[in-house]
């Protein structure tokens, strides 16, 4: 009876919930609660409860057939060395150390690593009253007024208790542009031009999120709002280590959003894509289109701990151990540095080998760990709150408020994604419905228990619906659906 128990963190979002992964002798994994984990007290959301679904182990492959790791590394090196326009993508879903290793390869190739997110949270200036790594979640409980630009229940459930605590401490909570939230005192369906009506001041907190499909304009609008009223701003982020990755990137990150990368591939400007635990098929709203785009690449090199759609498309897959087995650190959204109990360094070693093949220097885990710790200004200590302020600063002046983007043709609706970990990782979930306004029910003559047909240029599909109080003209869903063509899709809607 040998059962392995790993202390690790949920990869779903930046909260970085501590948990145990148990692995039985047959390799079946299950979650157990780690009650002493300070970020979450052992509590887990739906994604956390289902984390084993996430760990579908990748297999090392070369052009679609199983290969051993050295051959794969050689094949990858061969393809990368000859390529002229290489783009490297790591959204922050792996350890800081592996990310550093990935950056080393980029250096050898003379390129930079993208996180697919624009703008980088680390580039948000402190002038805007926020910490680069966000505020500590404990601090969220002390805010006097909170403006929510996300749906915590669906998107970042582990902050619900923080918000409830804030409310118990007397905070007023307003939900902006999202569905009616039980914990919010009011829901306001207002555009950026009316954000001042939110009544925020320097004791207030703005909670929003930044992710690969974020609208930069929206982010700037929020930063601008924070700057104007002196409120703190806290950006939630998907992926376990997006904060750490951003910090590690200070020097050699580029600022391409994922959509930009995909456009460049489409346009032939990018011919080779190397990804580290990042799957554009899963990340892009229109998965089918993403598949077509990726097929246009000359080289698609995937370094990944888990099997996902992109490993099916890749020319070379370099498989690493599952995240929970890895040695390494993660930095959560509040800047808390957390360390896995695992000792797996296969991913690092593979990247070291790859770097060597490409003519760069070899490295090992210890080196990278040291460099990372140093880069965040905290060498030697392994746990603790990090509030580094070394990030490059970005000008955060006023931004043109662009409301024209929301012009929706008569009889059409805007489909808005409530991004959540299930969507990012395209995991099975029971959010198989769209949210619809009560007025729409009447307008479309919907039958109780019936379905709606969503239509876009991608085609039509049937879906269940739930009646909620949501902003007018909008359809929301927490499920990735094939008719979507982008983060905001204009769709037609009919009852059936």
């Amino acid at each position: 009876m040998k059962e392995e128990i790993y202390q690790t963190f949920c990869p779903g979002c930046g909260v970085g919930c501590g948990l145990y992964i148990r692995e039985d002798p047959e390799g079946n994994t299950s979650v157990d609660f780690m009650k002493s984990s300070p970020a979450n007290l052992g509590k887990l959301c739906r994604f956390g409860m289902k984390v084993p679904y996430h760990y579908s182990k990748a297999r090392t492959m070369v052009t679609g057939s199983k290969a051993d790791i050295e051959d794969a590394i050689k094949a990858a090196a061969h393809r990368m060395a000859d390529a002229d326009s290489v783009t490297m993508l790591s959204v922050g879903n792996t350890t800081s150390e592996e990310h550093m290793a990935f950056c080393r390869i980029a250096e050898t190739l003379g390129t930079r690593v993208d996180t697919g997110v624009f703008p980088l949270p680390s580039q948000i200036t402190s002038k805007c009253g926020s910490y680069p790594e966000g505020i500590s979640l404990d601090e969220m409980e002390k805010a006097k007024r909170i403006a929510l630009f996300l749906d915590p229940y669906v998107q970042y459930p582990l902050i619900v208790r923080r918000l409830l605590a804030a409310k118990r401490n007397g905070a007023g909570i307003v939900a902006v542009g999202t569905k009616e939230l039980h914990l919010a005192d009011e829901t306001l369906d207002i555009g950026p031009d009316r954000y001042d009506e939110l009544g925020l001041d320097d004791k207030s907190l703005i909670v929003a999120d930044i992710h690969p499909n974020s609208d930069p304009v929206h982010v700037k609008q929020l930063l601008d709002l924070a700057g104007r009223c002196g409120a703190k701003i806290h950006f939630m982020q998907p992926f376990i280590n997006s904060t750490g990755v951003n910090l590690a990137l200070k020097a050699n990150g580029s600022m391409m959003a994922l959509a930009q990368i995909m456009e460049d591939i489409e346009a032939g400007n990018i011919r080779t894509l190397v990804t580290l635990d990042s799957d554009p098929v899963e990340l892009m709203p229109d998965a089918a289109a993403a598949v077509e785009t990726l097929k246009k690449l000359d080289n698609l090199i995937v370094i990944s701990s888990r099997a996902s759609p992109v490993t099916e498309l890749a020319d070379v897959v370099i498989a690493t151990e599952p995240v929970y087995m890895k040695a390494g650190t993660f930095m959560n959204v509040e800047g808390r540095l957390q360390e896995n109990s695992g000792s797996g360094v296969a991913g690092i070693d593979a990247m070291s080998l790859l770097n060597g093949e490409l003519g760069g220097k070899r490295f090992d885990y210890q080196q990278l760990h040291y460099i990372f710790m140093k880069s965040i200004g905290d060498p030697g200590t392994d746990v603790g709150d990090v509030t580094a302020d070394k990030a490059e600063q970005m000008e955060c002046g006023s931004v043109d408020v662009d409301n024209a983007g929301s012009s929706v043709p008569e009889g059409m609706y805007q489909l808005k994604y409530l991004y959540n970990p299930f969507m990012w990782f395209d995991q099975k979930d029971d959010n198989d419905f769209v949210l619809i306004d009560r007025k729409l029910v009447k307008k479309l003559g919907l039958k109780k228990g019936g379905m709606v047909v969503l239509g876009s240029e991608n085609g039509k599909m049937k879906m269940r619906y739930r009646v909620e109080n949501i902003p007018g003209g909008m359809i929301m869903t927490a499920k990735k659906i094939p008719v979507a063509t982008g983060p905001n899709t204009i769709i037609s809607l009919e009852g059936c």
Binding site: R22, G27, N28, T29, S30, V31, D32, M49, K50, P52, Y53, Y55, S56, K57, R59, V281, A287, A288, V291, R306, A307, S308, P309, T311, E312, L313, D426, V441, K442, G445, L446, K447, K448, G449, G450, M451, V453, N458, G459, K460, M461, K462, P482, V483, C496
Partner: protein, 679 residues
Amino acid sequence: MNAISRDTGAMSENRRFIMDQKEIINDTKDADEPRIGVFVCECGVNIGGVINCQEVADYAGSLPNVVNSSVNKYTCSDSGQSEIKQAIRDNDLNRVLVAACTPKTHEPIFRACVEEAGLNPYLFEFVNIREHCSWIHMQEKEKATRKAKELVRMGVSRAIQLEPLESNEVPVTDAALVIGAGVAGMQAALDIADMGHKVYLVEKNPSIGGKMAQLDKTFPTNDCSICILGPKMVEVARNKNIELMTYSEIDEVDGYVGNFKVKVRHKARYIDTVSCTGCGLCVEKCPVEVPNVEFNEGIGTRKAIYVPFPQAVPLRALVDRSVCIDCNACVKACNSSSVDMEQEDSFSELDVGVIVVTTGFEVYDPEPTHDFGYGLYDNVITGMELERLINASGPTMGKLVRPGDVTSPKRIGFIQCVGSRDKNSNRYCSSFCCMYALKDAQLIREKYPDSEVYIMYMDMRTPFRNYEEFYDRARDMGIKFIRGKPGKVTEKEDGNLIVRVEDTLTNSILELDLDMLVLSVGAVSGDSNERIRQILKVSRAADGFMMEAHPKLKPVDTTLDGIFIGGVTQGPKDIPYSVSQGSACAARATRYLSQGKAITEGITVDVNEDVCVSCGICVPMCPFQALSLEEGKLNVIKALCKGCGTCAVACPTGALQQNHFSNNQLLAQVRSVFAFEEE
């Protein structure tokens, strides 16, 4: 531990993901999506006079998955049915919903109708808008129409969820077990055997014959009971298809229709039944004499080794070891060395396809309650004791004497309904007591014309051919009838009995001085019946007898397929009725045996093995033993399942589902009770 985990067959899933992206889109029409036809019946004016059927049909047409809706004058008529069949063909329907009357009468008709059109009969849905709507809202036509629409909406959402079901077939072992070899059991065994099937006839007593063998004469013809029964007993013993197991008891029964496994215990007789000839030499030598309780109701004696009665089948001796003094006199006396004091109980395992239960009854025992002084006064006896007293082969060779002083009684009274029709003991009528009292009274009057016979009764019940005439004859013979139940019986010093009774016809209180009093005791189910009932899990009726599946239409079936009950097992009845029930059981049972297969209920439960966690909570819920945990897995024996669905409720995981009444189907119905206010 129920942690979430899965094996990592991720590759194929991802491939599917990429393909799915294209497939999901544009797939708003499912190939085998339900296509429902709705038929609203006007039932003449029964429905049409209250409900606007056209409006209902139009509304049905607007519901999802309904492709065809129409109104018929009489949907169940030939033309209505052919319209359904036509619509199935024309519109490629795969579900049919009829909104008409009650499924209890008409569902079979429409199921057959859709089956003829090629649909699985379980894809038919019935909505009751007559009994449950038009007839109960006759003055509120608008409300009734609205309700009818909603009922149809509920039906449609259930119809969408319907699934085809198949009845199950199980092979049937070509052998029958008949438990109890009284006259009903003998009849059943003979009939089944004569139809060419193997029969095991198990009798707990050392001889077959049952209660009828003890009787003197039988009404209404007064022919000698054992004279007509004897040949039948011999016939049973001779029949090659019947394997007789006397002095044997059923220990265990397992399995289900067609495949019962039965464990029979053969009690030790201490006699080799093969070599024993029943000559009786051993009996003569036996020094131990005890009352003959078994056959003569305790009147007279038998030895420790004895032959049950002269006409016993099999005619073999047996030893009552509880009184035997081990003198071995019998062993020495036996010419064929048949006595074996070392014998032990032996066992047989039988495989049978059907079981007929004809375990009969016990005579009501007035002793514990001392009804009318029984057990206190020597000269109060029961009807069955009287049978033995007047029987020519009985302990007195047919001479009627009273037990107290062995003198011939001259004034004899019968009290009817002892242990029957009594709210304090048994509420039911034992049905044969009137007739046997009439018979015994006649026999006494015939033999002893100087005797006076009184019958004290509440009602005289004489149905069936020649019974009333028999009653008339009794009256003609000078038997005195007193309508009234005696209040008090006291014993005089000479052993005579004073009976106070009110004659309710003359409103006079009578005080009779009688030599002997006969209590016309009724029938009760008794402990050994109860034991068998529990082994078989047959239901128990309120009167303690076993319960038939339906009091009118399935009088010898039980709710358990393949198990039949006949004769007094099901409730008190006389000999002709018992014999015909024996035959009825044989006919019902042979249906399975001759077909060689049994069709079981289509509506059963199914277990979803992926979801079942083998907690076993459901197992004791099933009254039919259809569920069992075998090697950590739940096993459903479809042949035993009656489809009540109570186990599905107990199941915490929802792994157990009752087909045709699945949670999805019922919840769909519940959910469509309601609609948006704007709809």
